[in-house]
């Protein structure tokens, strides 16, 4: 089994998948500048720790795990802010969109993560399973549950 990743492999991954990483983290954090900083830091960490990549899974999944860990750290630090408030980007979203967004953000973390990885990164169920550290079936169940929950939210809004 191979050990370690080459710097150029990480660079290729960065150049080809930067957008997917950035969009997912922006959705998680609600702020593009912070998300950019997270993605840059996460790849820097991956570069430093590339010798730890065991090669028993996809390099992209390994990097995704690093990116998500850095994003979680950042979320925790943002949550601790006292007097300052980080803005979400202006979206021009309608009120219904705002409600749906709140519902999305209120999903359990794993469901939300699975939705984001599926939508923004276009990862397969297997890739999501490897990234999040769950079984294939759990990914499908999480996506179904998330969709059901959001569909219910939409229906409630329509009938309200």
């Amino acid at each position: 089994m191979r050990r370690g990743a080459e710097p150029n492999e990480l660079e290729v991954l960065y150049r080809t998948r930067f957008r997917a990483f950035l969009l997912s983290v922006t959705a998680l954090l609600g702020h593009g500048e912070e998300a950019l900083d997270v993605v840059q830091d996460a790849f820097a960490r991956a570069l430093r720790r590339r010798s730890r990549f065991r090669g028993d899974g996809a390099l992209e999944a390994w990097v995704w795990r690093i990116v998500l860990n850095v994003a979680r750290d950042r979320l925790r630090s943002l949550a601790r802010e006292r007097s300052s408030h980080r803005l979400q980007p202006s979206t021009g979203a309608s009120e219904t969109d705002d409600d749906l967004r709140d519902s999305l953000l209120a999903l359990p973390e794993r469901q939300r993560l699975v939705v984001f990885l599926r939508y923004y990164a276009d990862l397969s169920y297997d890739q999501i399973a490897e990234t999040v550290g769950v079984r294939h079936g759990t990914v499908a169940a999480s996506l179904n549950a998330a969709h059901a929950r959001l569909r219910q939210q939409l229906e409630e809004e329509m009938t309200a």
Partner: protein, 249 residues
């Protein structure tokens, strides 16, 4: 679920997708091994220590009138105006975004640009009762103007108790962080703002101009213990400790 797709698109709308920079990744990787963390220094590690505002009249000078170029509200994205107006009126920025005008806050809010430096714009936001907030955002055109808004009311900024209001970005998950970007607002009596390293050395001395300090280059790679505000004679007026658990040993 088209609504879901459009909502997901909106959630990531602020992503700077054109900002990919592998060289920046490499530079960050060469820094000391630390996990990334961004905080405002005024928040997480804010164990601030007022060192001295002695009988030299300095205390009186640690206030400020923030002159700047008025920003027309029509030039601001609605969401920015809503959040800034709500915050300066002490309301939650998370109240429904019905628009600052509808809430009545907009008309009572004045926003001025104090300075533009190192690719960043610095703003003061005031309401007619004198309450103030401050904001920082990128000069580069994005769909938002304010990247961060902060209001400091206890102790109030500017005052002898709080002569700087720091918006710096720190990195490092260790007990002592390192500095990514040094920036913030300073009272009139503050001539420079600098960083104190672990060994006590003072570096990255940055001049205050138009009540703003800003430095994005020549920052130390290593750990930073404090941000200090200095008067025109180099005397230390104030210290903001960045060390988790405090700077006193």
């Amino acid at each position: 679920m088209k609504e879901l797709d459009s909502t997901l698109d909106a959630l990531a709308a602020g992503a700077p997708v054109g900002a990919a920079d592998w060289n920046d990744v490499v530079r960050r990787a060469r820094r000391p091994r630390r996990v990334a963390l961004t905080v405002t220094a005024a928040s997480v590690f804010a164990a601030s220590i007022l060192l001295a505002t002695p009988a030299l009249g300095i205390a009186e000078r640690l206030r400020a009138v923030f002159d700047g170029t008025p920003v027309q509200q029509r030039d601001l994205p609605a969401r920015d105006l809503h959040v800034a107006s709500a915050m300066v009126h002490g309301a939650s920025p998370r109240i429904p975004d019905t628009g600052a005008a509808a809430s009545g806050f907009g008309a009572a809010t004045e926003i001025r640009e104090l300075a533009s430096r190192n690719g960043r714009n610095y703003f003061v936001i005031e309401n007619r009762h004198g309450a103030r907030c401050f904001a920082v955002g990128p000069v580069e055109k994005r769909d938002y103007v304010f990247g961060q808004v902060g209001c400091q009311r206890s102790p109030v900024f500017p005052s002898p108790e709080l002569p700087i209001f720091d918006f710096s970005v720190l990195g490092g998950f260790d007990a002592i962080p390192h500095m990514r970007r040094l920036e913030g607002f300073a009272a009139d009596g503050v001539a420079t703002v600098a960083l104190v390293l672990e060994d006590g050395g003072i570096v990255a001395e940055t001049r205050v101009e138009h009540n703003v300090y800003s430095r994005t280059s020549d920052l130390p790679d290593g750990a930073v213990r404090e941000i200090v505000a200095l008067d025109a004679n180099g005397g230390r007026i104030y210290s903001l400790c960045l060390v988790r658990g405090g700077c006193e040993k």
